[in-house]
């Protein structure tokens, strides 16, 4: 396989981690640790696939995936923000619940081939009215050797991830809303004293995290492998959580980290294709082992980690009126 092809597969493998981690980054910046990413992703994946299959519209599936992620996240928000339950335990509950419910809903969708979402440069879109015309430049630009398909021939959600990364960075560090969100995450007591509604800000941040995780799940079942299978998230939600730590809560580093993890997780496929004689189980361990190694490396450095860790991360807040 050529370099261009490998880069393309890395980006595709990175995108679900990227999207989910980006949402969790915003959630954690507001001071809430939601360990339920895996569960929200699973719900997004099953909802996305089911709606796309039943309506024949993959884009509706994407919308459904986002909504399912948000709905699941709202359970978590209710539990941890309104009822101030322990965030770690609630996140675990969300993962167990989401994995179970998605498997239950998805039982009748197993082994049905999905439709998938075409890339912007897909030649099949030529005849489609309006869209075929609008996307013509992408088809032309994708012909550029080496970088054409990487820059112009991706599926729409890859561009969404790039745009969201810029959007999140801009929101967090260049807007008043972002300043409030970070203030709530760093010191909920002070933010409350200044008159900001801590619970409302956090609720919205958790919902945004859910939307992103749901979208990431939808990416898995609609684009990455267009089908539904039980537990298809395979720990990606947990890797996304590690990615946020790796990125030290900065959107730019998160994008780089997502590509790194995408590369690691795709390595096993390429290694198998090259006939490397390592048992497949060991290659499958790579993303998980890499996560541990990366966590260790990053956690050693105080400057990298401590500087950006939201100070009230994981601490429950009860307004004292």
């Amino acid at each position: 396989m050529n370099i261009e092809g490998i880069v393309l597969t890395i980006i595709t493998a990175a995108t679900p981690l990227w999207l989910a981690a980006l949402g969790e980054l915003v959630t954690e910046r507001s001071g809430v640790l939601n360990l339920g990413v895996e569960g929200m992703m699973a719900m997004g994946a099953v909802a996305g696939f089911a709606v796309a299959h039943l309506t024949g519209q993959p884009l509706l599936g994407v919308v459904a995936a986002i909504l399912a992620g948000m709905a699941t996240a709202s359970l978590f928000a209710l539990l941890t923000l309104v009822l101030v339950a322990n965030q770690v335990a609630s996140g675990l509950a969300l993962t167990l619940f989401g994995l179970g419910l998605s498997a239950l809903i998805g039982a009748s969708f197993v082994a049905i081939p999905g439709q998938g979402i075409p890339t912007l440069a897909d030649p099949d879109l030529v005849g489609v009215p309006v869209l075929g015309f609008v996307l013509a430049p992408f088809r032309a630009l994708a012909e550029i050797p080496y970088v054409g398909r990487i820059l112009f021939g991706q599926d729409p959600l890859v561009y969404a991830a790039v745009a969201l990364t810029f959007g999140v960075w801009w929101f967090l560090f260049r807007t008043r809303g972002g300043l409030i969100l970070r203030a709530v995450g760093d010191s909920h007591g002070s933010a409350h004293a200044l008159g900001y509604n801590v619970v409302a800000v956090r609720f919205l941040a958790v919902l945004f995290g859910g939307a992103c995780a749901g979208l990431a799940g939808g990416y898995l079942s609609l684009i990455y492998t267009p089908q539904w299978s039980t537990n298809m998230t395979a720990g990606r939600g947990w890797i996304a959580l590690a990615l946020v730590v790796f990125a030290s809560w900065l959107p730019g580093r998160l994008a780089a980290g997502a590509l790194l993890f995408g590369a690691v997780s795709i390595m096993q496929l390429h290694a198998q294709a090259l006939g490397v004689s390592v048992p497949s189980q060991f290659l499958k361990m790579l993303p998980y082992v890499t996560t541990i190694v990366v966590l260790v490396l990053i956690s050693r450095s105080d400057t990298l980690l401590r500087a950006n860790t939201p100070r009230d991360l994981g601490r429950p807040f009860v307004p004292d009126r």
Binding site: L75, L99, G100, A103, A242, P279, Q281, Y288, R321
Partner: protein, 363 residues
């Protein structure tokens, strides 16, 4: 209208006991609605799930067979959670214990006699404990988050046992089935009651008693509580937080390892590609549902085992997907966490918008 929480001056003793019961009732009610909505007769489904397993001797035995590993793991986890150490990788420690303990009968199949089983159990405990020490070490030495590292190690252990059972440890006379060679009677835990109840049930009872004593009556139990609830006070008292992280992971890993080897040297009788259907994760629910108290976890463990068994029955009798079990388990944890709020807070419904910032009248 909105909900306001007012901190109680003392924990509500009533809610401490009532919360898990309330959570169970709410789970049942939600399950009832869920079944009704999906067109299943809810009364029949609830009956199959929660009552039928109690009606025959074989299924009651099966209930305790499933409860054994769950309770063993949960007791270990209680040491972690009480000291505010978040080990969620017990499933991996369970698998590690199963692998370490199985090494003996698989590598030395001719080794028989009264010594082999105790050695297997010890190796299982050691394997689980050593696997549990990895996240503890990474936490203490490098500050790496133990939630993520312990969970990642679950995937590593599951893939490794899959490799062993399909590869080097596969039974040469097993017609290519991905199982190890079956363990001989001296390499498996003896049945002590009925057809299926094995010696491992005694381990559970011992673990409950020892945990009750250690947690409630010894200095180490006191240190665990102090470091868990008031880390600064613990530090001033000279209790070492780092040592506690190691101790908690060692105990949890060791008990998970014991659960793992008791599974393979018990109901399964061989090392297979999958050691447990998620007992290590279910145990997390049991730990919370049982209030991190040994006796509470004993009861909660049987209840959660019931959902596993009921799930199998419901799939067989009513064609309900066995994934319903996981939904029930997740819901149960949701509800118990929600109900636990009222141990510490008194709820008050406020009509209209709150006075908010201006109404600083205190409590």
């Amino acid at each position: 209208m909105r909900l306001e929480l007012i901190r109680r001056s003392h924990q509500s003793r009533l809610m401490t006991v009532a919360s898990p019961l309330l959570a169970f009732v709410l789970t049942l009610a939600t399950g009832f609605v869920m079944f009704a909505l999906t067109g299943v007769d809810p009364v029949a489904a609830i009956y199959v799930y929660f009552v039928e397993p109690w009606t025959a001797q074989w299924s009651v035995e099966e209930l305790f067979v499933k409860a054994v590993p769950i309770i063993l793991v949960a007791i270990g986890l209680a040491f972690c959670y009480r000291s505010n150490v978040w080990n969620i990788g017990a499933e991996g420690q369970l698998v590690a214990g199963a692998i370490a303990g199985s090494a003996l009968p698989i590598l030395f199949p001719a080794f028989e006699g009264p010594l082999v089983l105790p050695l297997m159990l010890l190796m299982g405990i050691a394997g689980g404990a050593l696997y549990g020490v990895i996240p503890a070490f990474l936490k203490v030495r490098f500050g790496a988050n133990e939630i993520l590292t312990s969970l990642m190690l679950v995937y590593v252990a599951q893939l490794f046992v899959d490799y062993l059972a399909r590869g080097p440890w596969r039974n040469p006379e097993g017609m290519n089935f991905p199982d190890s060679r079956p363990f001989s009677p001296s390499q498996t835990l003896p049945v002590i009651f009925g057809d299926d109840i094995r010696l491992s049930l005694v381990f559970v009872l011992i673990a409950v008693l020892v945990a009750w004593f250690v947690l409630g009556r010894t200095l180490i139990g006191f240190q665990i509580s102090v470091l868990g609830q008031a880390p600064r006070a613990g530090a001033f008292a000279g209790f070492s937080r780092n040592r506690m992280i190691f101790v908690a992971f060692l105990i949890a890993g060791g008990l998970a390892g014991l659960a793992g080897i008791s599974e393979v040297a018990g109901p399964t009788g061989a090392l297979r590609t999958v050691v447990s259907p998620g007992y290590g994760f279910t145990a997390i629910i049991v730990a919370f549902l049982g209030r991190l108290h040994p006796v509470g976890m004993l009861i909660a463990g049987v209840l959660l085992a019931l959902t596993f068994l009921g799930g199998e029955g419901a799939q067989f009798a009513l064609g309900i997907s066995d994934q319903t079990t996981q939904v029930f388990q997740g819901m149960l944890l949701f509800y118990v966490l929600a109900c636990d709020t009222f141990i510490f807070y008194r709820p008050r419904l406020v009509m209209g918008r709150s006075a908010g910032l201006t109404g600083g009248s205190g409590s």
